[in-house]
């Protein structure tokens, strides 16, 4: 009798195990920690799991600074994620390191990708394969403090449209105290933030230069245009006195505290800025250059499929990736994170274009460039150092840009082709 019940229990247990194993496939989704992104992904996962009860998705997050190392370490121990997010600039590292597999063409046909998504998605292509698709893309815009404008006698409904107008507005909105200390800056200067992209893909081009050539493998900003661009940027602090690097520690902190009239930042900052209560702010397209040239920097985080995903997990991963890059998911992402949909149809709707916040960002997307970084952290450091040498060591613009160019070229040359 006891043996029978024991046996029955064993069978029941094993069958339940087998049953549930067949039932739920668990896949892992990795991204970096950022409040709104995690929240948005939670919502997407909940929706997906409701529609696919036999798949569970576990979200794992790491701090941005460690993210890449974690992915590599996971590959080392054979425990990689099934779907993972990656900055488009990391693709070289991840693809050559065997962390990603090409997107299966059956679920993600190339014609669909090229028709539906913004052209900048081509940065995810290596050879004949796409290695990831973005849910959302980001661009830059000029944020400005309406209250600061009104106080300075400027019209908050008419933000600056050219660089000259921007500098004039900055001069009017800069406030200093009796000892000459900055109380409110006209425009933030934060090379460690988005300013490096503004400098590279926007200012350099607007002053007649090019940041890189040869598929972003050859530094080209050590030119007249580049020098003029750097001079313009550093003059903001040194000549026009409308900003100060390090003021309030970070540019977006200054803007958020109401101590900066303007700042150049991306869509991802919208979530943080929406909590501002003390003043009204608005968004405008990036100012045009001296001869009316407009440019912008677009970037995105794409979602790819881990190299180790096979069989059931691969099927589940394909389904999840398809959902996460669907128009519905993009809507949710836009609402929660503030980033723009990566599909043109979802993005360039009349409603979106007319929206006071999303409009300028979307318009910027149409003339945006993207940089193919080989080592984003190191290349960012060269830009930070370039500006610091001018600010802190009084080096001339020409010398600093030459030094930065050779340093960055060394980085580009050291990377595998």
């Amino acid at each position: 009798m006891r043996k029978a019940t024991l046996f029955a229990g064993l069978v029941a247990g094993v069958s339940m195990f087998a049953f549930s194993a067949a039932q739920a496939v668990e896949i892992q989704y990795w991204q970096y920690v950022f409040d709104t992104r995690v929240k948005a992904m939670d919502e997407l996962i909940a929706n997906f799991q409701k529609a696919n009860p036999d798949i569970t998705v576990k979200q794992v997050t790491f701090p941005y600074a460690d993210y890449q190392t974690r992915v590599v370490a996971a590959k080392l121990s054979g425990q990689g994620p099934d779907v993972l997010q990656l900055y488009y600039g990391w693709l070289d590292k991840f693809a050559s390191g065997g962390v990603l597999q090409p997107l299966p063409k059956d679920a993600f046909p190339h014609e669909m990708i090229e028709k539906e998504f913004f052209p900048i998605v081509s940065a995810m292509k290596r050879g004949e394969d796409y290695y990831g698709l973005p849910t959302a893309v980001r661009s830059l815009a000029l944020f400005y403090n309406k209250k600061a404008f009104t106080d300075a006698g400027l019209d908050p409904a008419n933000p600056p449209k050219t660089l000259d107008e921007m500098v004039a507005a900055a001069e009017k909105t800069t406030k200093r105290d009796a000892s000459g200390n900055l109380e409110q800056e006209g425009i933030t200067l934060d090379m460690a933030g988005q300013d490096q992209h503004w400098w590279r893909e926007v200012l350099v081009r607007q002053f007649g230069g090019e940041p890189y050539t040869d598929n972003d493998r050859k530094v080209a900003y050590n030119s007249d245009g580049g020098k003029k661009a750097l001079k313009f940027y550093t003059d903001l602090q040194l000549e026009k006195n409308v900003g100060q690097a390090g003021f309030m520690d970070e540019g977006q902190a200054a803007f958020k505290a109401g101590k900066a009239a303007m700042t150049i930042d991306g869509t991802f900052r919208l979530g943080a800025f929406r909590t501002i209560k003390d003043f009204e702010w608005a968004v405008a397209e990036l100012p045009a250059g001296p001869d009316g040239k407009q440019s912008n920097f677009a970037s995105y985080f794409a979602n790819g499929i881990g190299a180790a995903a096979t069989g059931e997990k691969l099927e589940a991963a394909k389904k999840f990736l398809a959902y996460v890059t669907s128009p519905e998911a993009m809507e949710i992402w836009m609402k929660t994170v503030g980033e723009l949909p990566a599909r043109q149809s979802a993005a360039l709707t009349d409603a979106n274009l007319a929206d006071p916040i999303n409009g300028p960002f979307l318009k910027g997307l149409t003339y945006a460039h993207t940089t193919l970084f080989v080592d984003e952290a190191a290349q960012r450091q060269t830009a930070i150092d370039m500006v610091n040498r001018v600010f802190l060591q009084g080096q001339s613009v020409d010398d600093s840009i030459a030094e930065a160019a050779s340093a960055e070229q060394a980085i580009l040359d050291a990377a595998p082709k």
């Binding site: 590599v72 900055l182 190191a378 450091q381 610091n388 802190l392």
Partner: protein
């Protein structure tokens, strides 16, 4: 230690194990796990580090033996020399300043009776704080106006603003101050323990001989405090050479900046290993750190040895 074991007990066949053998059984039984632990956790990784430093390995592709190429690269790397200079700057300025300060404070604090415990607590409290947490507090202190506390004080007193963390010349001293501040309490307590261990009879005898306070300090206190001083010199030197927590947290958006002026060796190791994941190159840097620590410690022990 007197053992009860008879001389020839190791050969006694009766009663199973002899006393001596039994004791040996306990000794090695006690030491077994620790020996395994230290071998696996301390010795083996040391050799592995040395070996790794002779390879180039970026975690993704298999390791390749490249001999001393990493060291040659290090020797030729200007960033390394900058880091080397910074690390020694932390040591050469940080250690003497903090030791001098803590000795003076300990010397006078020892003579204080009124509210002694309270004042001692004031000095000791910073030692108990988490370096990472207080680094952020100090970072806030060093901000330019309008939010920086120190600059605010300077303005009130009429002194000019200082860029502190935003200056290539002031950033390292600023961070060093934070490190000195944190370690002062420990050094003060140790010095006080050392001071209290000196028998008062020596002082009484000296006073009878007519020696003044300063002479007493020079001829009696300091020499008798030597073991304590040596301990603190070596201990705090090692601490300054390995500084990391404060630098990482105080320069998070431009690590080791500005322009690499605050970057110590450990931060370079961290970046090489866990941002660029050049494991071989990073291992070479750790070996260099090891050699520096070893040399400095041995040098200090030799310089401060008992000269009879």
């Amino acid at each position: 230690m007197a053992t009860l074991a008879p001389a020839a007990s190791t050969h006694a066949p009766h009663r199973g194990m002899s006393m001596r053998a039994r004791r040996l059984f306990w000794v090695w039984g006690f030491l077994a796990l620790p020996i395994v632990f230290y071998s696996v956790i301390r010795f083996y990784p040391t050799f592995q580090s040395f070996w790794l430093s002779l390879t180039d390995w970026n975690l993704m592709n298999p390791a390749k033996f490249i001999g001393v190429a990493n060291y040659q690269k290090l020797w030729a790397d200007p960033e390394f020399w900058k880091v080397f200079k910074n690390t020694f700057a932390y040591l050469i300025f940080g250690m003497p300043i903090s030791l001098l300060l803590s000795f003076v404070i300990a010397y006078y604090l020892d003579r204080v009776r009124f509210l002694h415990g309270f004042i001692r607590a004031l000095y000791f409290l910073p030692y108990l704080t988490t370096a990472a947490a207080m680094a952020w507090v100090w970072r806030w202190f060093y901000q330019p106006p309008p939010i920086g506390f120190i600059n605010e004080v300077l303005t009130t007193v009429g002194l000019p603003q200082q860029p502190f963390l935003r200056s290539t010349s002031q950033a390292l001293p600023s961070i060093m101050v934070t490190a000195i501040w944190a370690g002062l309490g420990f050094q003060i307590i140790i010095f006080m323990a050392g001071l209290r261990a000196i028998p008062t009879t020596y002082y009484e005898a000296a006073r009878i001989d007519g020696l003044g306070e300063w002479a007493i300090l020079r001829r009696i206190t300091l020499p008798l405090l030597k073991p304590t001083t040596v301990f603190l010199v070596v201990f705090s030197s090692i601490g300054f050479l390995r500084i990391f927590d404060q630098v990482y947290n105080m320069t998070s958006n431009d690590p080791g900046g500005p322009l690499g002026s605050t970057k110590p060796l450990v931060l370079m190791i961290y970046q090489t290993a866990f941002s660029s994941y050049a494991m071989g190159y990073a291992a070479a840097q750790t070996v260099v750190l090891f050699i520096i620590l070893l040399c400095i410690s041995l040098l200090q022990l030799w310089l401060l040895r008992e000269k009879t």
